[in-house]
Protein backbone atom coordinates (compact mmCIF):
# COMPACT_ATOMS: atom_id res chain seq x y z
CA UNK A 1 0.00 0.00 0.00
CA UNK A 2 2.69 2.48 0.98
CA UNK A 3 4.38 2.13 -2.34
CA UNK A 4 1.38 2.88 -4.49
CA UNK A 5 0.25 5.60 -2.11
CA UNK A 6 3.58 7.34 -2.47
CA UNK A 7 3.33 7.06 -6.22
CA UNK A 8 -0.21 8.40 -6.36
CA UNK A 9 -0.05 11.21 -3.91
CA UNK A 10 3.52 12.39 -4.05
CA UNK A 11 5.24 11.62 -7.30
CA UNK A 12 2.44 12.20 -9.77
CA UNK A 13 1.46 15.59 -8.34
CA UNK A 14 5.14 16.51 -8.33
CA UNK A 15 5.42 15.59 -11.98
CA UNK A 16 2.40 17.64 -12.89
CA UNK A 17 3.78 20.52 -10.86
CA UNK A 18 7.08 20.37 -12.68
CA UNK A 19 5.32 20.30 -16.00
CA UNK A 20 3.18 23.27 -14.98
CA UNK A 21 6.20 25.35 -14.02
CA UNK A 22 7.97 24.41 -17.24
CA UNK A 23 4.96 25.25 -19.37
CA UNK A 24 4.53 28.53 -17.57
CA UNK A 25 8.18 29.43 -18.04
CA UNK A 26 8.32 28.52 -21.72
CA UNK A 27 4.87 29.81 -22.52
CA UNK A 28 4.53 28.24 -25.96
CA UNK A 29 1.65 26.43 -27.58
CA UNK A 30 4.09 23.57 -28.11
CA UNK A 31 4.10 22.87 -24.40
CA UNK A 32 0.59 23.56 -23.17
CA UNK A 33 0.05 23.88 -19.45
CA UNK A 34 -1.58 21.09 -17.45
CA UNK A 35 -4.65 23.30 -17.18
CA UNK A 36 -4.89 23.59 -20.96
CA UNK A 37 -4.62 19.85 -21.37
CA UNK A 38 -7.19 19.28 -18.66
CA UNK A 39 -9.40 21.71 -20.45
CA UNK A 40 -9.08 19.81 -23.70
CA UNK A 41 -9.76 16.59 -21.82
CA UNK A 42 -12.92 18.02 -20.29
CA UNK A 43 -14.11 19.36 -23.60
CA UNK A 44 -13.55 16.04 -25.32
CA UNK A 45 -15.13 14.19 -22.43
CA UNK A 46 -18.17 16.47 -22.43
CA UNK A 47 -18.73 15.85 -26.12
CA UNK A 48 -18.43 12.12 -25.51
CA UNK A 49 -15.65 11.89 -28.09
CA UNK A 50 -13.00 10.96 -25.56
CA UNK A 51 -15.01 8.08 -24.19
CA UNK A 52 -15.95 6.81 -27.62
CA UNK A 53 -12.43 6.77 -29.03
CA UNK A 54 -10.90 5.53 -25.82
CA UNK A 55 -13.39 2.70 -25.64
CA UNK A 56 -12.69 1.64 -29.21
CA UNK A 57 -8.95 1.71 -28.69
CA UNK A 58 -9.18 -0.08 -25.38
CA UNK A 59 -11.21 -2.81 -26.98
CA UNK A 60 -8.61 -3.25 -29.67
CA UNK A 61 -5.80 -3.17 -27.13
CA UNK A 62 -7.52 -5.64 -24.83
CA UNK A 63 -8.35 -8.11 -27.57
CA UNK A 64 -4.90 -7.94 -29.16
CA UNK A 65 -3.25 -8.11 -25.78
CA UNK A 66 -5.06 -11.25 -24.74
CA UNK A 67 -4.42 -12.97 -28.05
CA UNK A 68 -0.78 -11.93 -28.20
CA UNK A 69 -0.07 -12.93 -24.61
CA UNK A 70 -1.75 -16.29 -25.05
CA UNK A 71 0.00 -17.22 -28.28
CA UNK A 72 3.28 -15.62 -27.31
CA UNK A 73 3.40 -17.41 -23.98
CA UNK A 74 2.59 -20.75 -25.57
CA UNK A 75 5.12 -20.35 -28.34
CA UNK A 76 7.75 -18.94 -26.01
CA UNK A 77 7.43 -21.77 -23.50
CA UNK A 78 7.42 -24.40 -26.24
CA UNK A 79 10.52 -22.89 -27.84
CA UNK A 80 12.26 -22.61 -24.52
CA UNK A 81 11.65 -26.26 -23.69
CA UNK A 82 11.99 -27.97 -27.07
CA UNK A 83 15.34 -27.46 -28.74
CA UNK A 84 14.18 -28.68 -32.15
CA UNK A 85 11.21 -26.34 -32.17
CA UNK A 86 13.45 -23.49 -31.18
CA UNK A 87 15.79 -24.25 -34.08
CA UNK A 88 12.83 -24.46 -36.39
CA UNK A 89 11.05 -21.31 -35.38
CA UNK A 90 13.91 -19.06 -34.40
CA UNK A 91 14.49 -17.51 -37.85
CA UNK A 92 10.79 -16.93 -38.16
CA UNK A 93 10.80 -15.26 -34.77
CA UNK A 94 13.65 -12.97 -35.75
CA UNK A 95 11.82 -12.17 -38.95
CA UNK A 96 8.53 -11.30 -37.34
CA UNK A 97 10.21 -9.54 -34.45
CA UNK A 98 11.98 -7.19 -36.79
CA UNK A 99 9.40 -6.77 -39.48
CA UNK A 100 8.46 -3.10 -39.16
CA UNK A 101 4.95 -2.65 -37.84
CA UNK A 102 4.36 -0.28 -40.71
CA UNK A 103 5.21 -2.87 -43.33
CA UNK A 104 3.16 -5.55 -41.68
CA UNK A 105 0.17 -3.31 -41.22
CA UNK A 106 0.34 -2.18 -44.81
CA UNK A 107 0.62 -5.72 -46.12
CA UNK A 108 -2.25 -6.97 -44.02
CA UNK A 109 -4.47 -4.03 -44.88
CA UNK A 110 -3.67 -4.54 -48.54
CA UNK A 111 -4.27 -8.26 -48.47
CA UNK A 112 -7.32 -8.38 -46.27
CA UNK A 113 -8.74 -4.93 -46.84
CA UNK A 114 -9.20 -2.17 -44.32
CA UNK A 115 -11.13 -4.36 -41.93
CA UNK A 116 -11.00 -4.63 -38.16
CA UNK A 117 -9.69 -8.19 -38.30
CA UNK A 118 -6.67 -7.08 -40.31
CA UNK A 119 -5.98 -4.38 -37.76
CA UNK A 120 -6.13 -6.78 -34.84
CA UNK A 121 -4.11 -9.39 -36.69
CA UNK A 122 -1.41 -6.85 -37.46
CA UNK A 123 -1.10 -5.94 -33.81
CA UNK A 124 -1.10 -9.53 -32.64
CA UNK A 125 1.54 -10.60 -35.15
CA UNK A 126 3.63 -7.66 -34.11
CA UNK A 127 3.44 -8.46 -30.44
CA UNK A 128 3.55 -12.25 -30.34
CA UNK A 129 7.28 -12.54 -31.11
CA UNK A 130 8.02 -10.07 -28.37
CA UNK A 131 6.18 -12.09 -25.77
CA UNK A 132 7.66 -15.28 -27.14
CA UNK A 133 11.22 -13.99 -26.90
CA UNK A 134 10.71 -13.03 -23.27
CA UNK A 135 8.93 -16.20 -22.22
CA UNK A 136 11.46 -18.32 -24.06
CA UNK A 137 14.16 -16.97 -21.78
CA UNK A 138 11.95 -17.79 -18.84
CA UNK A 139 11.29 -21.30 -20.01
CA UNK A 140 14.99 -21.85 -20.59
CA UNK A 141 15.84 -20.94 -17.05
CA UNK A 142 13.30 -23.17 -15.34
CA UNK A 143 14.92 -25.02 -12.45
CA UNK A 144 15.70 -28.61 -13.53
CA UNK A 145 15.67 -29.73 -9.90
CA UNK A 146 12.01 -28.88 -9.55
CA UNK A 147 11.34 -30.51 -12.92
CA UNK A 148 12.77 -33.72 -11.51
CA UNK A 149 10.65 -33.34 -8.42
CA UNK A 150 7.50 -32.85 -10.48
CA UNK A 151 8.41 -35.84 -12.58
CA UNK A 152 9.13 -38.09 -9.63
CA UNK A 153 5.88 -37.12 -7.97
CA UNK A 154 3.93 -37.61 -11.17
CA UNK A 155 2.58 -34.07 -11.49
CA UNK A 156 0.07 -33.74 -14.33
CA UNK A 157 1.00 -31.28 -17.10
CA UNK A 158 -1.55 -28.83 -15.78
CA UNK A 159 -0.22 -29.04 -12.24
CA UNK A 160 3.29 -28.63 -13.51
CA UNK A 161 2.30 -25.57 -15.49
CA UNK A 162 0.41 -23.98 -12.66
CA UNK A 163 2.50 -24.82 -9.65
CA UNK A 164 5.99 -25.33 -11.00
CA UNK A 165 6.33 -23.27 -14.15
CA UNK A 166 4.03 -20.32 -13.64
CA UNK A 167 5.70 -19.07 -10.45
CA UNK A 168 9.08 -19.27 -12.15
CA UNK A 169 7.78 -17.60 -15.29
CA UNK A 170 6.00 -14.93 -13.32
CA UNK A 171 8.66 -12.21 -13.61
CA UNK A 172 8.90 -12.84 -17.32
CA UNK A 173 5.15 -12.66 -17.64
CA UNK A 174 5.13 -9.38 -15.78
CA UNK A 175 7.84 -7.96 -18.00
CA UNK A 176 5.96 -9.13 -21.07
CA UNK A 177 2.70 -7.73 -19.72
CA UNK A 178 4.05 -4.29 -18.93
CA UNK A 179 6.11 -3.99 -22.06
CA UNK A 180 3.34 -5.64 -23.99
CA UNK A 181 0.54 -3.34 -23.01
CA UNK A 182 2.71 -0.41 -24.00
CA UNK A 183 3.84 -1.91 -27.28
CA UNK A 184 0.38 -3.00 -28.28
CA UNK A 185 -1.03 0.38 -27.60
CA UNK A 186 1.67 1.94 -29.72
CA UNK A 187 0.99 -0.41 -32.60
CA UNK A 188 -2.75 0.09 -32.28
CA UNK A 189 -2.07 3.76 -32.71
CA UNK A 190 -0.27 3.16 -35.99
CA UNK A 191 -2.96 0.77 -37.12
CA UNK A 192 -5.64 3.31 -36.37
CA UNK A 193 -3.66 6.03 -38.00
CA UNK A 194 -3.36 4.17 -41.26
CA UNK A 195 -6.72 2.63 -41.72
CA UNK A 196 -9.33 3.14 -39.04
CA UNK A 197 -11.83 5.93 -38.60
CA UNK A 198 -11.97 5.90 -34.85
CA UNK A 199 -9.86 5.28 -31.82
CA UNK A 200 -7.23 7.28 -30.00
CA UNK A 201 -4.72 6.77 -32.80
CA UNK A 202 -7.09 8.39 -35.22
CA UNK A 203 -7.66 11.29 -32.85
CA UNK A 204 -3.95 11.71 -32.26
CA UNK A 205 -3.47 11.84 -35.98
CA UNK A 206 -6.05 14.58 -36.27
CA UNK A 207 -4.47 16.54 -33.46
CA UNK A 208 -1.13 16.03 -35.10
CA UNK A 209 -2.44 17.33 -38.44
CA UNK A 210 -2.92 20.73 -36.88
CA UNK A 211 -0.15 20.47 -34.33
CA UNK A 212 -2.60 20.49 -31.49
CA UNK A 213 -0.15 19.48 -28.75
CA UNK A 214 -2.80 19.88 -26.05
CA UNK A 215 -4.95 17.39 -27.93
CA UNK A 216 -2.05 15.01 -28.40
CA UNK A 217 -1.24 15.11 -24.71
CA UNK A 218 -4.87 14.92 -23.62
CA UNK A 219 -5.52 11.71 -25.52
CA UNK A 220 -2.15 10.19 -24.63
CA UNK A 221 -2.57 10.99 -20.96
CA UNK A 222 -6.09 9.63 -20.90
CA UNK A 223 -4.77 6.30 -22.05
CA UNK A 224 -1.76 6.45 -19.76
CA UNK A 225 -4.07 7.17 -16.85
CA UNK A 226 -5.95 4.00 -17.61
CA UNK A 227 -2.74 1.98 -17.77
CA UNK A 228 -1.69 3.56 -14.49
CA UNK A 229 -4.96 2.41 -12.99
CA UNK A 230 -4.39 -1.10 -14.30
CA UNK A 231 -0.89 -0.96 -12.85
CA UNK A 232 -2.03 0.16 -9.41
CA UNK A 233 -5.25 -1.78 -9.25
CA UNK A 234 -4.28 -5.00 -10.94
CA UNK A 235 -0.63 -5.56 -11.70
CA UNK A 236 0.91 -4.37 -8.45
CA UNK A 237 -1.52 -6.26 -6.19
CA UNK A 238 -1.02 -9.33 -8.35
CA UNK A 239 2.71 -8.92 -8.09
CA UNK A 240 2.54 -8.48 -4.34
CA UNK A 241 0.53 -11.64 -4.01
CA UNK A 242 2.63 -13.71 -6.34
CA UNK A 243 5.94 -12.72 -4.79
CA UNK A 244 4.91 -12.89 -1.17
CA UNK A 245 6.90 -16.08 -0.71
CA UNK A 246 9.98 -14.27 -1.85
CA UNK A 247 9.65 -11.46 0.61
CA UNK A 248 8.93 -13.68 3.58
CA UNK A 249 12.14 -15.49 2.84
CA UNK A 250 14.28 -12.39 2.98
CA UNK A 251 12.46 -10.77 5.84
CA UNK A 252 14.58 -12.71 8.13
CA UNK A 253 17.78 -12.87 6.18
Amino acid sequence: MRRSALACWVVLPLLVGLWGVLAWQLDTSLLPSPAAVLNTLQREAASGELQRHLAVTLQRVALSFLLAMAFGTLIGIAMGRLVWLDALLDPLLVLLLNLPALVLIILLYVWFGLVEAAAILAVVINKVPNVAVTLREGARSLDPRLEQMARAYGFSPLMRLRHVWLPQLFPYLMAATRGGLALIWKIVLVVELLGRSDGVGFQLHLAFQVFDVAGLLAYSLAFIAIVQLIELGLLQPLERRATRWRRTGVEHA
Binding site: R145, L146, M149, R151, A152, Y153, F155, M159, W245, T248
Partner: protein, 226 residues
Protein backbone atom coordinates in the same frame (compact mmCIF):
# COMPACT_ATOMS: atom_id res chain seq x y z
CA UNK B 1 -0.37 -54.62 -4.47
CA UNK B 2 2.78 -53.26 -6.10
CA UNK B 3 3.26 -54.34 -9.69
CA UNK B 4 6.88 -55.01 -9.05
CA UNK B 5 7.33 -58.38 -7.59
CA UNK B 6 11.09 -58.47 -7.73
CA UNK B 7 11.39 -55.35 -9.78
CA UNK B 8 14.55 -55.23 -11.77
CA UNK B 9 16.38 -52.03 -12.49
CA UNK B 10 19.04 -51.98 -15.13
CA UNK B 11 21.93 -49.59 -15.59
CA UNK B 12 23.09 -49.96 -19.19
CA UNK B 13 26.69 -50.09 -20.30
CA UNK B 14 28.12 -46.69 -21.19
CA UNK B 15 26.56 -44.87 -18.26
CA UNK B 16 28.81 -41.97 -17.33
CA UNK B 17 28.96 -42.69 -13.61
CA UNK B 18 27.57 -46.12 -12.88
CA UNK B 19 28.91 -49.45 -14.01
CA UNK B 20 26.45 -51.66 -15.86
CA UNK B 21 24.37 -53.45 -13.31
CA UNK B 22 21.04 -55.05 -12.80
CA UNK B 23 19.41 -54.60 -9.42
CA UNK B 24 16.57 -56.67 -8.10
CA UNK B 25 14.45 -55.11 -5.42
CA UNK B 26 11.72 -57.16 -3.82
CA UNK B 27 8.73 -55.89 -1.82
CA UNK B 28 9.72 -55.68 1.80
CA UNK B 29 13.35 -55.01 0.99
CA UNK B 30 14.64 -52.30 3.26
CA UNK B 31 17.92 -51.36 1.73
CA UNK B 32 20.46 -48.96 3.11
CA UNK B 33 22.74 -47.65 0.41
CA UNK B 34 26.15 -46.52 1.55
CA UNK B 35 29.26 -45.34 -0.23
CA UNK B 36 31.82 -42.57 -0.32
CA UNK B 37 30.75 -39.03 -1.08
CA UNK B 38 30.47 -38.41 -4.80
CA UNK B 39 30.47 -42.04 -5.79
CA UNK B 40 27.04 -42.14 -7.44
CA UNK B 41 24.40 -42.86 -4.81
CA UNK B 42 22.14 -40.01 -5.83
CA UNK B 43 22.73 -40.86 -9.46
CA UNK B 44 21.55 -44.39 -8.78
CA UNK B 45 18.37 -43.23 -7.05
CA UNK B 46 17.63 -40.85 -9.94
CA UNK B 47 18.13 -43.72 -12.34
CA UNK B 48 15.71 -45.91 -10.36
CA UNK B 49 13.14 -43.12 -10.36
CA UNK B 50 13.42 -42.74 -14.12
CA UNK B 51 14.74 -39.20 -13.91
CA UNK B 52 17.68 -39.60 -16.23
CA UNK B 53 17.52 -38.21 -19.71
CA UNK B 54 15.54 -40.42 -22.04
CA UNK B 55 14.26 -42.74 -19.35
CA UNK B 56 10.57 -43.62 -19.25
CA UNK B 57 8.62 -43.04 -16.06
CA UNK B 58 8.51 -46.29 -14.12
CA UNK B 59 5.07 -47.65 -13.38
CA UNK B 60 5.73 -47.89 -9.66
CA UNK B 61 4.52 -45.34 -7.18
CA UNK B 62 7.70 -43.79 -5.95
CA UNK B 63 8.19 -41.54 -2.97
CA UNK B 64 11.52 -39.79 -3.32
CA UNK B 65 13.14 -37.69 -0.65
CA UNK B 66 15.73 -35.75 -2.62
CA UNK B 67 19.04 -34.84 -1.07
CA UNK B 68 17.92 -31.22 -1.24
CA UNK B 69 14.39 -30.77 -0.05
CA UNK B 70 12.93 -29.58 -3.37
CA UNK B 71 9.78 -28.19 -1.90
CA UNK B 72 8.14 -25.58 -4.11
CA UNK B 73 9.37 -22.36 -2.51
CA UNK B 74 6.29 -20.43 -3.62
CA UNK B 75 3.84 -22.76 -1.93
CA UNK B 76 3.26 -23.16 1.77
CA UNK B 77 3.95 -26.53 3.34
CA UNK B 78 0.22 -27.17 3.25
CA UNK B 79 0.04 -26.55 -0.49
CA UNK B 80 3.20 -28.53 -1.11
CA UNK B 81 1.61 -31.51 0.58
CA UNK B 82 -1.81 -31.03 -0.99
CA UNK B 83 -0.13 -31.11 -4.40
CA UNK B 84 1.05 -34.67 -3.93
CA UNK B 85 -2.44 -35.71 -2.93
CA UNK B 86 -2.54 -35.25 0.84
CA UNK B 87 -6.13 -34.73 1.96
CA UNK B 88 -7.26 -31.46 3.49
CA UNK B 89 -7.33 -32.70 7.08
CA UNK B 90 -4.33 -34.92 6.69
CA UNK B 91 -1.88 -32.05 6.33
CA UNK B 92 -1.56 -31.10 9.95
CA UNK B 93 -1.40 -34.62 11.41
CA UNK B 94 1.19 -35.50 8.81
CA UNK B 95 3.33 -32.47 9.66
CA UNK B 96 2.93 -33.23 13.33
CA UNK B 97 4.58 -36.58 12.77
CA UNK B 98 7.76 -34.85 11.65
CA UNK B 99 7.52 -32.21 14.38
CA UNK B 100 6.20 -29.36 12.25
CA UNK B 101 2.71 -29.14 13.69
CA UNK B 102 2.56 -25.38 13.53
CA UNK B 103 4.42 -24.74 10.29
CA UNK B 104 1.67 -25.71 7.82
CA UNK B 105 1.20 -22.18 6.56
CA UNK B 106 4.84 -21.30 6.26
CA UNK B 107 6.79 -21.10 3.06
CA UNK B 108 9.86 -23.34 2.80
CA UNK B 109 12.16 -20.33 2.97
CA UNK B 110 10.75 -19.54 6.38
CA UNK B 111 12.03 -22.81 7.77
CA UNK B 112 15.41 -23.95 8.88
CA UNK B 113 17.04 -26.42 6.55
CA UNK B 114 16.42 -29.30 8.90
CA UNK B 115 12.74 -28.36 9.12
CA UNK B 116 12.45 -28.18 5.35
CA UNK B 117 14.00 -31.61 5.02
CA UNK B 118 11.53 -32.97 7.52
CA UNK B 119 8.67 -31.45 5.55
CA UNK B 120 10.04 -33.08 2.40
CA UNK B 121 10.20 -36.38 4.27
CA UNK B 122 6.57 -35.96 5.25
CA UNK B 123 5.74 -35.35 1.62
CA UNK B 124 7.37 -38.53 0.38
CA UNK B 125 5.91 -40.64 3.16
CA UNK B 126 2.47 -39.27 2.34
CA UNK B 127 2.68 -40.81 -1.12
CA UNK B 128 2.09 -44.32 0.23
CA UNK B 129 4.70 -45.41 -2.29
CA UNK B 130 5.56 -48.90 -3.52
CA UNK B 131 9.14 -47.85 -3.43
CA UNK B 132 10.44 -45.33 -0.93
CA UNK B 133 13.69 -43.61 -1.85
CA UNK B 134 15.37 -41.59 0.85
CA UNK B 135 18.53 -39.64 0.11
CA UNK B 136 20.13 -38.99 3.49
CA UNK B 137 16.92 -38.42 5.41
CA UNK B 138 18.65 -37.62 8.70
CA UNK B 139 21.27 -35.14 7.60
CA UNK B 140 20.97 -31.77 9.37
CA UNK B 141 18.93 -33.23 12.22
CA UNK B 142 19.79 -33.49 15.86
CA UNK B 143 20.12 -37.04 17.19
CA UNK B 144 16.82 -36.98 19.03
CA UNK B 145 14.87 -35.79 16.08
CA UNK B 146 16.67 -38.33 13.90
CA UNK B 147 15.77 -41.16 16.23
CA UNK B 148 12.17 -40.05 16.24
CA UNK B 149 12.06 -40.09 12.46
CA UNK B 150 13.73 -43.47 12.32
CA UNK B 151 10.97 -44.78 14.55
CA UNK B 152 8.40 -43.16 12.30
CA UNK B 153 9.84 -44.80 9.21
CA UNK B 154 10.08 -48.15 10.93
CA UNK B 155 6.44 -47.95 11.95
CA UNK B 156 5.48 -47.14 8.41
CA UNK B 157 7.52 -49.99 6.99
CA UNK B 158 5.85 -52.36 9.36
CA UNK B 159 2.44 -51.01 8.51
CA UNK B 160 3.00 -51.55 4.78
CA UNK B 161 5.03 -54.70 4.52
CA UNK B 162 4.96 -54.69 0.71
CA UNK B 163 6.70 -51.37 0.53
CA UNK B 164 10.33 -51.41 -0.47
CA UNK B 165 12.79 -48.81 0.67
CA UNK B 166 16.20 -47.64 -0.39
CA UNK B 167 17.77 -45.22 2.02
CA UNK B 168 21.07 -43.49 1.39
CA UNK B 169 23.03 -42.87 4.54
CA UNK B 170 26.54 -42.60 5.84
CA UNK B 171 25.83 -43.93 9.29
CA UNK B 172 26.11 -47.55 10.33
CA UNK B 173 23.61 -46.71 13.07
CA UNK B 174 20.95 -45.80 10.52
CA UNK B 175 21.57 -49.03 8.66
CA UNK B 176 21.27 -50.99 11.85
CA UNK B 177 18.01 -49.32 12.71
CA UNK B 178 16.30 -49.54 9.34
CA UNK B 179 17.83 -52.01 6.95
CA UNK B 180 17.34 -55.65 6.21
CA UNK B 181 19.69 -55.38 3.26
CA UNK B 182 22.83 -53.37 2.62
CA UNK B 183 24.22 -52.01 -0.59
CA UNK B 184 27.67 -50.55 -0.72
CA UNK B 185 28.56 -48.55 -3.80
CA UNK B 186 32.22 -48.02 -4.69
CA UNK B 187 34.69 -47.82 -7.55
CA UNK B 188 34.70 -45.78 -10.68
CA UNK B 189 32.47 -46.41 -12.54
CA UNK B 190 30.51 -47.19 -9.41
CA UNK B 191 29.34 -50.72 -8.85
CA UNK B 192 27.76 -52.55 -5.93
CA UNK B 193 30.76 -53.74 -4.02
CA UNK B 194 28.60 -55.25 -1.34
CA UNK B 195 25.01 -56.46 -1.46
CA UNK B 196 23.90 -58.56 1.48
CA UNK B 197 20.84 -59.31 3.49
CA UNK B 198 21.10 -58.64 7.17
CA UNK B 199 20.23 -61.25 9.70
CA UNK B 200 20.81 -61.30 13.42
CA UNK B 201 24.37 -62.42 12.87
CA UNK B 202 25.49 -60.01 10.22
CA UNK B 203 23.72 -57.28 12.14
CA UNK B 204 26.17 -57.54 14.94
CA UNK B 205 29.24 -57.06 12.75
CA UNK B 206 27.71 -54.45 10.50
CA UNK B 207 29.46 -51.41 11.85
CA UNK B 208 32.84 -53.07 11.55
CA UNK B 209 32.09 -54.42 8.12
CA UNK B 210 31.02 -50.99 6.84
CA UNK B 211 34.06 -49.39 8.40
CA UNK B 212 36.28 -51.83 6.52
CA UNK B 213 34.45 -51.14 3.25
CA UNK B 214 34.82 -47.42 3.79
CA UNK B 215 38.50 -47.75 4.59
CA UNK B 216 39.04 -49.74 1.41
CA UNK B 217 37.06 -47.30 -0.73
CA UNK B 218 38.78 -44.22 0.65
CA UNK B 219 42.13 -45.93 0.11
CA UNK B 220 41.47 -46.15 -3.62
CA UNK B 221 42.41 -42.97 -5.36
CA UNK B 222 39.10 -41.47 -6.32
CA UNK B 223 40.06 -40.33 -9.77
CA UNK B 224 37.55 -38.05 -11.38
CA UNK B 225 37.69 -37.91 -15.10
CA UNK B 226 36.62 -34.46 -16.16
Amino acid sequence: MPEFVKSEFVVPAGHAILAPMSLKVAPGDHICLLGPSGIGKTTLLNRLTGLERGQPRPTLRIGYLFQEHRLLPWRTLRDNLRLVGVGRDQVEPLLARVGLEQAADRYPDQLSLGMARRAALARCLAMRPDLLLLDEPFASLDPHRADELKRLIRTLLKQFPAMAMICVTHEARDAEALANRIWYLAGRPAHLRYDARLDAETHAGLARRLDALGRQASGESLSIES
